[in-house]
């Protein structure tokens, strides 16, 4: 693996000097340096709005003593600035320590010295700007020609390549070499004064091959069809309904309404409905929920690239691993960083993630999903007398202290006597997370997933979530009527 020049400064000599400074002063430190390049292409109505490219280097020095953290973001990392920045970061940790009331130590880990690199079928560096633009132009053309009802099209292409180094007082020296590609389609359709829109995206860890998969090729036509279909959709009538969620919405529910409550930093801050619930029955027997951000899962979904939420190690150097969150309805594990695992006296399960080297790691999800069971999709529909089938979502959020969630669905269909009927738009679903996990009356057989960006504490990171079709009872459906 070719290592970027800027990362080579982290040699044994520098580590030795930093250890010397840290000795007797602080308990733990880590330094991350990242070098990244990338391209953004933004087209609307078949015209380029933005064609851009960047080259960024970032460095964050993190220090810890007895419950207090220090963090120093450097703009120009070299040997000298790192040593000076480190001295400052040591002071910052001591300052935090002088005022923090939760004293603890970071549990030691064995050193990991390793370079990781994903294999791309088509490396981004080898693809010219014109070839990337051709992809975007093709999608814009598909969108514009789909129907005269299409009034505004928008295609966004983002790619990037990064090399991130972490070295730490554990003796870690880890480099991850990754590249990603994302494609977005946003389409507005209008008819008889009604304006509707649809958004879809696809993303993965890998090279240019991501833009050439079936999912990517169909992205725009799917979006255009949805926008046009929504023109003839009705607004829902509010009330309590049986709701069938598609795999995307199931994933959103598992991530937004449940997953965040498993993040151990929120548990410690008393912002979780799952505080004190480890080992307790919180869901029906059939419920099994997992977070697995390891690599090599794409074959399950027949994809030639790594899933968007996957990583080799988290941003504290802990290898990614499969974590069982709920099994047989019993809460087994929270998701942990070095800090939360140290405080709860368990090993970290590799969820200390940051959006870049200039941000501090937080506890974050990777690929969170509900494990499928035995219902066929058709069986679920046929078995439902009166309900709503909800597909995909626009957005969702949850009150962390109560578990009261709200999701705005993208496409929803009335189900009457076991048959799928008319399309409805802007259906919102609301309920309490733990109530829903105990009222699921069918869990499908086939698993699917979606990828996206999750925001927390001002940081955005890449994630995946998923599951099968599920059916839940007594969900409040809201609408304009």
């Amino acid at each position: 693996m070719d290592i970027a020049e800027d990362l080579k400064i982290a040699d044994e000599k520098l580590t030795y000097e930093l250890q010397k400074i840290a000795k007797d002063k602080i308990d733990y430190w880590d330094i991350r340096i990242g070098v990244k390049t990338g391209t953004n292409l933004d087209f609307t109505d078949q015209k380029s709005k933005e064609i851009s490219s960047y080259e960024i280097i970032e460095c964050g020095i993190r220090t810890f003593v007895n419950g207090g953290w220090g963090f120093n973001v450097l703009k120009n990392p070299n040997r000298n600035t790192i040593i000076n920045g480190f001295l400052k970061a040591v002071k910052l940790a001591k300052l935090s320590e002088s005022l923090c009331k939760n004293k603890f130590k970071i549990r030691n880990r064995d050193p990991l010295i390793k370079n990781f690199k994903i294999t791309c079928k088509k490396r981004l560096e080898d693809i010219g700007i014109d070839e990337k633009i051709q992809i975007v132009k093709r999608h814009e053309k598909i969108a514009s020609e789909y129907s005269p009802k299409i009034k505004n099209t928008h295609t966004l292409y983002l790619d990037g390549h990064s090399q991130d180094l972490i070295f730490s007082s554990f003796g870690h020296h880890i480099i991850q070499d990754l590249s990603f590609l994302r494609l977005f389609s946003l389409i507005y359709a209008k008819e008889k004064g009604i304006l509707q829109r649809s958004i879809n995206s696809i993303g993965g860890i890998g090279g240019f091959e991501i833009s050439e998969t079936e999912g990517a090729n169909n992205l725009t036509e799917k979006t255009a069809k949805e926008a046009v279909d929504l023109l003839n959709a009705n607004s829902p009538v509010g009330g309590k309904f049986t709701v069938i969620m598609d795999p995307k919405l199931t994933g959103t529910f598992i991530h937004e309404a449940f997953g965040h409550a498993c993040e151990a930093d929120l548990v410690l801050n008393k912002e979780s409905i799952l505080e004190g619930k480890i080992g307790k029955k919180i869901a029906m027997d059939d419920i099994k929920i997992i977070d697995d951000p390891t690599m090599n899962q794409s074959k399950k979904f027949n994809l030639p690239y790594e899933l968007f939420g996957s990583y080799f190690t988290d941003d504290e150097g802990t290898p990614s691993q499969k974590t069982i969150i709920i099994e047989d309805g019993i809460l087994r594990n929270y998701l942990h960083s070095l800090e939360t695992s140290s405080r709860m006296a368990v090993p970290s399960n590799g969820h200390g993630r940051a959006n870049s080297c200039s941000s501090r790691p937080q506890v974050r999800m990777g690929f969170t999903y509900l494990v499928p069971k035995d219902w066929e999709y058709e069986e679920i529909i046929e078995d439902t007398k009166n309900g709503v089938l909800c597909e995909d979502f626009q957005y969702g959020y949850t009150d962390p202290t109560t578990g009261n969630f709200q999701f705005k669905c993208k496409l929803s269909y009335k189900i009457e006597h076991g048959e799928k009927r008319e399309l409805m738009r802007d259906v919102s679903l609301s309920g309490l997370t733990l109530e829903v996990l105990n009222k699921i009356s069918a869990i499908g057989k086939t698993m699917n997933y979606s990828d996206g960006i999750c925001g927390k504490g001002g940081q955005s990171i890449r994630v995946c979530d998923g599951g099968p079709y599920i059916r839940t009872e007594d969900i409040t459906v809201g609408g304009l009527n």
Binding site: Y54, V73, I129, G238, G478
Partner: protein, 456 residues
């Protein structure tokens, strides 16, 4: 970086290089942005992290005679990388499509408005040790309360300096400071064991304006007001929006809907409504960048265009002048830019954003308005936001209380409501004289009649 001459010579070198390298170039722009920050975070009502950071980067924007735009940015600010970025930006430009709507980057301006107090020397020179007292105040408010069980929050200070140069001879530089404080407090009822959260924040230009204890007390009060929630039946009621609610349902959606880009792409629910009366007499809105010391103020925008005060709504009428433009959207409409190009850092091309976005206060006090409400709902917070292309809103009330005979009563559980914004604007029948400032939004209490509530 504080040696201005280095920036000037780099910028001039870069602009000349761009012109020399591509005969098809129409105009070019170089932007430099420098930022220093201090951030102290609290979790579990205790100091958790002390952070400082520096950032400095440059962005090159080039446009050719056919209107095709190329953009490149880096945080390696030295001659060699600027040369590389210019060559990349030109390559990007050559690859783009024809855009006849692009007219030009802004020309040189002789005069900029004098907006005072956007910069506080005390804040620029603030040391992290001195910042600690602000979070200590937050911690104290929470630890002295019997029901409060946890708090997260932070103190953040920023110093920003920007330089904008373009090939039309425009050059402008400015510096500004800001600081903010946030508090999210969790409370637990001793009898019912029910928990709830309350959130408040403040962002100011100068340190002396920060009132930490007040912010934590507000968060605490909001959290307590939301304990022991009840379910209600579906009904049509009067809604009293708090300043938070006013931002969520009126100011923020309007600011997005009058973005000229959203308008030109026909994605706004206000299309076709210009010069029409679409709201009640109480709907008076302006976007004013010229208020001394305000967070949303500036003397020039992200492209170097002088900022101004624009009237958006007057007595319910959506004014012809009520759109926010940058130089691109203004050129497309053949008018002058309104000075609303927004640029948070060197890492993005200028978009469009509001300045101080103000709903004009009314004549009655909040208490007088409240007293008039026989049966209603006080709405502080919903996680939902309206659909800007249709104006439809339906959402969950996360923080809301019943109002009975002019008094604020129990908080609501699992209650949703829905309305189209055009109906909401028409149904506004009172605006309070008190208002609160959250960042660039200036928001009073607003009373809205006939809103459909869906009970839990």
């Amino acid at each position: 970086m504080d040696h201005n001459s280095d920036v000037y010579s780099l910028a001039n070198y870069g602009l000349k290089l761009a012109e020399r390298s591509n005969s098809d170039l129409k105009c070019a722009e170089i932007f430099f942005g420098k930022n220093n920050h201090i951030n102290i975070e609290i979790e579990e009502n205790s100091v958790k992290n002390s952070e400082v950071g520096d950032d400095y980067g440059t962005a090159i924007r080039v446009i050719n005679k056919k209107g095709s735009l190329g953009f490149a940015f880096t945080n390696r600010v030295e001659k060699k990388s600027i040369e590389k970025m210019i060559s990349i930006a030109l390559k990007m430009m050559n690859a783009g499509t024809i855009d006849l709507d692009f007219k030009n980057l802004p020309n040189q301006y002789n005069k900029y408005p004098d907006v005072k107090n956007l910069y506080d020397n005390n804040l620029k020179n603030l040391e992290i040790d001195e910042s600690l007292k602000y979070v200590e105040d937050l911690i104290q408010v929470c630890s002295q309360d019997e029901l409060a069980i946890s708090q997260s929050g932070n103190f953040l200070s920023n110093y920003t300096k920007t330089y904008i140069f373009n090939s039309n001879g425009l050059f402008i530089t400015g510096k500004e400071t800001s600081c903010s404080i946030s508090s999210n407090i969790i409370v637990k009822d001793k009898v019912s064991n029910e928990t709830s959260f309350g959130y408040d924040w403040q962002s100011m230009r100068t340190l002396s304006e920060i009132n930490t204890k007040k912010i934590a007390s507000n968060a605490l009060e909001k959290a307590k007001r939301n304990l022991n929630r009840i379910k209600i039946k579906s009904m049509k009621v009067t809604l009293l929006l708090t300043p938070f609610g006013t931002i969520n349902l009126i100011l923020n959606p309007i600011a997005s809907a009058i973005n000229a880009e959203t308008f030109q792409y026909k994605r706004s629910f206000l299309i076709g409504k210009r010069e029409e009366v679409i709201g009640s007499n109480y709907l008076n809105i302006e976007d004013n960048a010229l208020i001394d010391g305000a967070t949303g103020s500036s003397s020039f925008d992200g492209e170097g265009v002088p900022c101004k005060n624009k009237k958006i709504f007057e007595r319910g009428k959506f004014l012809k002048t009520g759109l926010l433009h940058n130089s691109y959207t203004a050129g497309k409409d053949n008018i002058e830019s309104t000075g609303n190009a927004s640029r948070n850092s060197y890492s993005s091309i200028p978009s469009i954003g509001n300045s101080n976005f103000i709903l004009k206060p009314g004549n009655h006090s909040k208490d007088e308005i409240l007293k008039d409400i026989k049966e209603g709902i006080l709405l502080d917070y919903t996680g939902d936001s309206p659909n800007i292309s249709t104006g439809d809103f339906s959402g969950l009330i996360l923080h809301g209380n019943l109002i009975k005979n002019g008094e604020i009563k129990e908080p609501l559980n699992k209650t949703m409501f829905g309305i189209n914004l055009l109906d909401l604007f028409k149904n506004i029948n009172a605006v309070s004289k008190e208002f609160k400032i959250y960042g660039s939004f200036h928001a009073p209490f607003v009373k809205v009649k006939d809103v459909q509530i869906i009970g839990g």
